[in-house]
Amino acid sequence: MTSSPAKPETLSVLDRPNSYIGKVVPRPNLERLMQGRGLYVSDMELPRMAHVVFVRSPHAHAEIVEIDASAAKRMPGVTAIVTGEELAAVITPWVGVLSHLKGLKSAPQHAIAIGRVRWQGEAVAAVVATNRAVAEDAAEHVVVKYRELEPVTDMRTALDPEMPVIHPLLGDNLAFERTLDAGTVDAAFAGSDEIVEANFVFGRHTGVTLEPRAVVADWNAAEARLTIYQGTQAPHMVQNIAALHLGLEESQVRVVCKDVGGSFGIKVHIYADEMATYALAKLLRRPIKFVADRVESFNTDIHARDHRCKGRIGVKRDGTIMAFEIDDLTGIGPYSMYPRTSAIEANQVVNLVGGPYVTKNYRARARVVFQNKNVMCQYRAVGHPIACSVTEGLVDLAASKIGMDPVAIRRRNLIADDAYPCASPSGLRFELLSHHAAMNKLMAMMNYDALRAEQAALRSKNIHRGIGIASFIEVTNPSAAFYGVGGAKISSQDGVAVRLDAQGSVICQTSITEQGQGSESLTAQIVGSVLGVSMARVRVILGDTDHTPYGGGTWASRGAGIGGEAALQAAKILRENILDVAAAILQSSPTVLDIADNAIVNASDGAPRIELRELARIVYFRPDTLPPGIQPELMATRHFVPREYPFAFTNGVQASWLEVDTDTGFVKLLRHWVVEDCGTLINPQLVDEQIRGGVVQGLGAALFEKCIYDERGQLTNANMADYLVPMSGEMPDIDVGHVASPTAETELGAKGAGEAGTAGAAAAVANAVNDALKPFGATITEIPLTPQIILTALKQI
């Protein structure tokens, strides 16, 4: 059954009495988390469960000559030691390509390496034992002979003819290339008064989820069924892939997500060691647990954002931006990740550069090359931080060149708030954005003029503060245009089933998932609002392929917009069904009744008529008392998929206020602002907290985080002391404001918000540092902005 848009005579759910939508309410699942009584996969124990530890390659590129596990196998507590060849009998390899990314090529990847290792940290054998410590002891006794090969570790030379080709059958190390040429770029540059070029360099970094990746795979041989407990964002995707590669039907695989200790995209991908864990459970016929330790996490969790991007901007003296041009190069690992591919990030960069601005002239080339480093793939905000840093960095450089204020040049060139719908030169369709309203709000919130005055006053005292602005657009609520069209079995629709139970409480099953952003809460808020039931009486079940509708899950900021709409529509149907039964019981008509505060009431004066609890009792236990012919239905399911727009774009603008100690190169973040437009806010506090968390990840990228590889492909800072994540002492307070441009595609009107903070934060900080250093004539286009980089730019060292 298809759902139709809201009838004008029906009260919109946003206007209902006692609606939770737009309200700050505490999340229902917090108590257990605060008492330490959550259940994370890393907490799980099953009978006869064994632990797997992987013997991992110390070399970035090598032939596996021999694996001798004989001594290790004899150690007490060791259940099995399994090599890639042995496991290949149980699980088939995969290739991370999608057909809509034309020309993308990658090589088959096995769960455990066979014959060759292609990054330092790749697994070469699995050691299964009674506990992790014993397995680690045994792993030390597995003797592996390698013949080292020359590694490819510099993206700039990966395509040179004299470099080794990592996958000879592919011919070269180029995974993907895309070009775009829109408008009349050459003419635009020719007509520009000033042209500025810069090389932008981004440090490879990674998610560092506090709970590492963890899987418990349980193969029940008698039932021929595999249950996978995993903190994945997309359980149906995992179900499909596990079944496919283990030679099972999807109905033989159940994926269960418990509490997840952070994901941010890290746990939405298919990892070789996790696939190995599923296969080991089937092979050994007992539950197998894999929990990556922190060092393993650094070496094998997907990395992201390893880009070198040449950017060019043409501008007229009056501030009109004439054209953008980029040439982006990114070095991934030896395989394109499965199934979402490692070309998406570069593809997004091409799509998003210049996005907020009116210029139609845009040319881009992006190349993705293989390297002998850890695999790379989608991490919170995907290509947005790169695109935003390049765009906003170029805009600031242009402003500087013509002596214009950074806000003024943006106001001159941002797409007008009344220009929608429209499209970007890269073909992105915008339904309704609010760049100018957001900028106006930002200016007021931060008191821009006062900060400029303060900056000037402090400069005369040799204190150097800077303001950085970054406008951005963000992809949310993706349709099948993202993955489905390329052949990926990744659902772009989601479903919610709601029912009234025998005590008049509500149970919802939703196919979106929860990693802390508030999926459970937003579902309960919507259902409670539509049904007129208090949130305390709404229980949400998610993260279980056996017990929820089929869906995409939570990623690309789609949970609220898509899953929320499904919840809304399902609850509307259930409401109608309840009113039909109520009308029968009360010998009335559904049109004069409503549901509020857990009871059927008169629509006119709100007087309670019958409690839901009582209605449920009658339906479930005394249907004999109902009028003849009535078949009550107290359960409803609706799915939702975006059809009109391939993505629901949101927009926003960020600002950073910071101080640079020009003696030491240290940056102190004083304050940060975000104005964001994600349409309808279901729970403003949860949205703001998503933005804050996202901003801090962007601040980490701007100042601290970098996976440091040496020229031999060794990751040299794979621990929490040397890889610097943001801690509380260095982070600023972040003020968040909103503009609201709901999407007309749904009744809820909600767009996504999960990645907005990360999209623009690093760009704002980089612009602020350059603003602070203006008196010194230094411009830096590399992040992380370490003290060493700053002191070098200042010619202090």
Binding site: L30, Q35, R37, G38, L210, S263, E689
Partner: protein, 159 residues
């Protein structure tokens, strides 16, 4: 010779007798032997703070203590602090302010925050940030946590 050694201690007020291998760290002892999984393991090198518990009234990194070192000690975990009601007001402030998202850092964060609140009556935001600077959170960006601790401190002063 790495035979198990006997230890006798109190955990959340309850007497515990156990035989443990010397190399078993306190975090793993709590989680695997006593099934108190509220204490989390995030790095095992003492940096992230997820494993923070109280031993003899003082906060420690349980991944950096051996279980055998807790012989005759009083150990308190998040479960104990929750059940006793000691941090009920702090937990309420965390809930109201949404000072947790995935919840993995939260037990350690609550114990570290309570440690500050016990020692100082009027910590300002900078002081709160400093005391919590050894507890990693990836979800919240810290501000909500600072807000919740500040609110709790103010309320306790008012009592």
């Amino acid at each position: 010779m790495t035979a198990p050694l006997p230890i006798s201690l109190h955990v959340n007020g309850e007497r515990v007798d156990a035989q443990v291998l010397p190399r078993l760290n306190l975090a793993d002892f709590l989680r695997e032997h006593l099934k108190l999984t509220g204490t989390h393991v995030g790095c095992e090198h003492g940096v992230c703070g997820a494993c923070t518990v109280r031993v003899n009234g003082q906060i420690v990194r349980s991944c950096l203590m051996l279980a055998v070192q807790t012989h005759c000690a009083l150990v308190e975990t998040i479960e104990g602090l929750s059940d006793s009601g000691e941090i009920a007001d702090l937990q309420a402030a965390f809930r109201d302010r949404n000072a947790l998202q995935c919840g993995f850092c939260t037990p350690g964060m609550l114990i570290a925050a309570q440690d500050l609140l016990i020692q100082e009556q009027e910590p300002d935001r900078e002081r709160i940030r400093e005391h919590l600077s050894g507890n990693y959170c990836r979800c919240t960006g810290y501000q909500a946590i600072i807000d919740a601790v500040e609110t709790t401190a103010r309320a306790r002063r008012g009592r």
